[in-house]
């Protein structure tokens, strides 16, 4: 059964550094999402992406964040200048229509 994959599984970075989180969607899926889960808190929507454009974003998704699909397969989330409060588990999800399938997540720790 096809799965969403994410790399890296863990990332440790220094505050102010840029990080890029990668996701490989299921091949026939058209809609892509990023969510995050701060330790002990609920899963929160960050951004949705369709047809090479952001379709919706939350207030969390400020100018420090960006998404792109650089090569038609990967879907990336970039954080330009990480802050301590960006430490979280980041999940990618993809869907052909209404049901979202989640990747295993990237645990980001900002020191």
């Amino acid at each position: 059964e096809p799965e969403v994959t994410q790399t890296p599984s863990h990332q440790v970075t220094q505050m102010g550094q840029e990080v890029i989180l990668r996701c490989v969607p299921i091949s026939n899926h058209l809609y892509f999402y990023w969510y995050r889960q701060i330790l002990g808190q609920k899963v929160e929507f960050l951004v949705s992406f369709y047809n090479n454009e952001i379709s919706e974003k939350s207030e969390i998704f400020d100018d420090q964040f960006s998404v792109e699909r650089p090569d038609g397969s990967n879907f990336t989330l970039k954080i330009r200048s990480t802050k301590l409060e960006d430490s979280a588990m980041y999940f990618c999800a993809t869907t052909p229509q209404e049901t979202q399938y989640f990747g295993p997540g990237t645990r980001l720790l900002v020191l």
């Binding site: 809609y31 979202q100 990747g103």
Partner: protein, 110 residues
């Protein structure tokens, strides 16, 4: 706007006992409802979903949920739990972006 409330943060239960994890939602439009399970150090796995049609939906691992529009609820049930069901369970609502509840940690004791 939409929101989800999971009424129990933790539910301890003995093996082979029945369990119900409660979820209430609010939304100004018709939405889809989902339950996801998260095992330790893993991602979110879809348990079941309600899109339309029959209000009783069956999912994987023997779980089922009932959509109740008048009570705006989508409670998850299993008639007999196993040790392996120990995990965190998330109720979510949405059409497009998902809004999640706080999660319910189900602990099954032998």
């Amino acid at each position: 706007a939409q929101s989800v409330t999971q009424l129990d943060s933790q539910v301890p239960v003995f093996e082979e006992a029945p369990v119900e994890l409660r979820c209430n939602y609010s939304s100004s439009v018709s939405v889809y409802l989902f339950w996801y399970v998260q095992y330790p150090n893993q991602g979110l796995q879809l348990l079941l979903k309600y899109l339309s049609g029959s209000t009783l939906v069956k999912g994987i691992n023997g779980f089922e949920a009932e959509f109740n529009k008048s009570q705006t609820s989508f409670h998850l049930r299993k008639p007999s739990v196993h040790i392996s069901d120990t995990a965190e369970y998330f109720c979510a609502v949405g059409y497009g972006k998902l809004t999640f509840g706080q999660g319910t940690i189900l602990t099954v004791h032998p």
